[in-house]
């Protein structure tokens, strides 16, 4: 299976553009969204990882691989502001946000983390998807159409009033992606989004990822899934022996 992210995006963006525009757009694309220097995480005495430098560009997708226990999930949680770590320098969209750790609300709204086994609240699927908008104070009339659109995008429109406890693993994952998508995050952190999913559910989840990049998000996916790792246009990061390798 091969899904091209960059080819879909570039076809739309670069059409009819001259060479200089292309160059400036390419530069824009390469602009660092998140830049981290000297990121260390310890579990007690044990140093889990010591990352010299990590840069996430705008409108880009990354897969983060590594052995079990290498610290992939922990790294995503640190980047998502859910866990503390020692950090020398942290910049987001050009601004120094190191002193803002754990993240202030504005930064939290730009970065969304999705668990490996997403937690859905004990409300309806529709209410779950709209939750992030509601807590941001969006009026119900504005939330409803966005939620409808996101449910259609994730293929869960028929589950609008269903209790999350009745959903399959694949459906839960798609609802979680829709819940993240409505927030239009600048950085989306997905922890093993296809783990424990069967073939069809896996493919449905994988098919949603390029469209999120297309919509303007940068994505970092921690995974072991070959199909995700081999997605065209995706950059590869690997955590090995506490170091981050860029491939």
């Amino acid at each position: 299976m091969s899904i091209s992210i960059n080819s879909q995006i570039t076809a739309a963006v670069y059409e009819n553009a001259n060479e200089s525009q292309l160059a400036s757009q390419r530069d824009e694309r390469r602009k660092a969204l998140l830049g981290v220097r000297g990121l260390r995480k310890r579990h007690g005495e044990r140093l889990l990882f010591d990352i010299d430098r990590l840069e996430i560009a705008t409108h880009s997708a990354y897969v983060l691989t590594g052995m079990n226990g290498a610290g992939k999930s922990t790294l995503l949680r640190v980047l998502g502001g859910l866990e503390r770590a020692e950090i020398d320098s942290l910049r987001f969209a050009g601004e120094d946000v190191l002193r803002a750790h754990p993240y202030p609300r504005a930064l939290r709204r730009a970065i969304v983390y999705v668990h490996q086994h997403p937690i859905l609240f004990s409300t309806s699927v529709g209410d779950n998807i709209g939750y992030g908008l509601v807590v941001r104070g969006e009026p119900p009339a504005a939330v409803r159409p966005v939620v409808e659109e996101a449910m259609a995008w994730a293929g869960v429109a028929h589950l609008r009033d269903t209790a999350p406890a009745r959903l399959s693993g694949g459906e839960k994952q798609r609802v979680a992606l829709a819940r993240a998508k409505v927030l239009q995050p600048r950085l989306l952190l997905l922890d093993e989004p296809t783990a424990n999913l069967d073939g069809a559910a896996r493919e449905q989840v994988i098919a949603l990822i390029p469209t999120m990049v297309e919509a303007g998000s940068s994505i970092v996916i921690a995974c072991h899934d070959r199909d995700l790792i081999n997605l065209q246009g995706v950059q590869r990061l690997k955590l090995r022996d506490g170091q981050l390798e860029v491939r």
Binding site: G80, G81, L82, R105, R108, R109, V112, Y113, V114, H115, P118, I119, F121, S122, Y131, G132, V135, R136, A163, P164, A165, R166, R179, A180, L183
Partner: protein
């Protein structure tokens, strides 16, 4: 030999003829217990939530004290409140001793550790990813608390019902702080103690039937809630 059956028969007569003295006692009990519970519930839930969710110095001491307070005899709480509320006590100026506000205050103190310990257990038992998910979706600390308490609602409701069970059935605090004044501070439990000491069993039995009925209703409600919670977990 017929004293007990006669007393039981008389008890049912009191209950079903609407004996004003008996139902006044029930009313005072319900009023003071519910008022005490209503006052204790918000701070207890808030403290229970904070202790469950935050790591701070002295947290284990708070948990230890809350759990130890569960096994404190209510008569001891009554004694402490008596000393506080007596004319020369630090709260003597309130004039709450031997009054319904005094009983409400006492019931509030009696209910607090039950509510706190049960809320703490309910929130601690919840998957921490609920709070993380709310945070990751941009919720404020207050919105995270509302979400977490909603997800732990069966446990929190069990805490409230257990708190009510504790205050409606306790005798020591109500007796010492209320003084068992007829029509004013006489509650179900203090009336049972008094009537029994006088050898008048009928009213005591009637009030006992009311207490047992309340206990059955409370526990029935709790079982229904727990049943719902189990069904939801099994579906998940």
């Amino acid at each position: 030999m017929n004293a007990i059956p006669d007393a039981i028969l008389h008890a049912f007569t009191l209950l079903f003829t609407g004996d004003p003295d008996l139902w006044r006692i029930v009313w005072v009990s319900l009023k003071t217990s519910i008022a005490g519970l209503v006052l204790a519930t918000p701070p207890a839930i808030l403290i229970g939530y904070v202790v469950a969710m935050r790591r701070f110095t002295g947290r284990r001491i708070v948990i230890w004290l809350a759990q130890a307070a569960l096994s404190l005899p209510t008569v001891l709480i009554g004694l402490l409140l008596y000393l506080l509320l007596s004319r020369h006590g630090p709260l003597g100026g309130l004039h709450w001793l031997f009054s319904q506000p005094g009983i409400v205050f006492g019931q509030c103190i009696v209910a607090l550790p039950v509510l706190l310990a049960f809320t703490l257990a309910a929130v601690q038992g919840l998957d921490p990813r609920y709070a993380e998910t709310a945070i990751a979706l941009g919720a404020s600390p207050m919105q995270v608390m509302v979400r977490v308490l909603h997800e732990a609602r069966f446990g929190v409701m069990a805490a409230v019902l257990s708190g009510f069970g504790r205050v409606i059935s306790e005798v020591g605090c109500a007796l010492m702080v209320g003084g068992n004044i007829e029509g004013e501070t006489r509650t179900i439990t203090t009336a049972i103690a008094l009537e029994t000491s006088k050898g008048e069993f009928a009213q005591g039995i009637a009030l006992g039937i009311v207490l047992v009925t309340l206990a059955l209703l409370m526990n029935g409600a709790l079982m229904l809630l727990q049943g719902d919670a189990h069904t939801i977990r099994e579906r998940a």
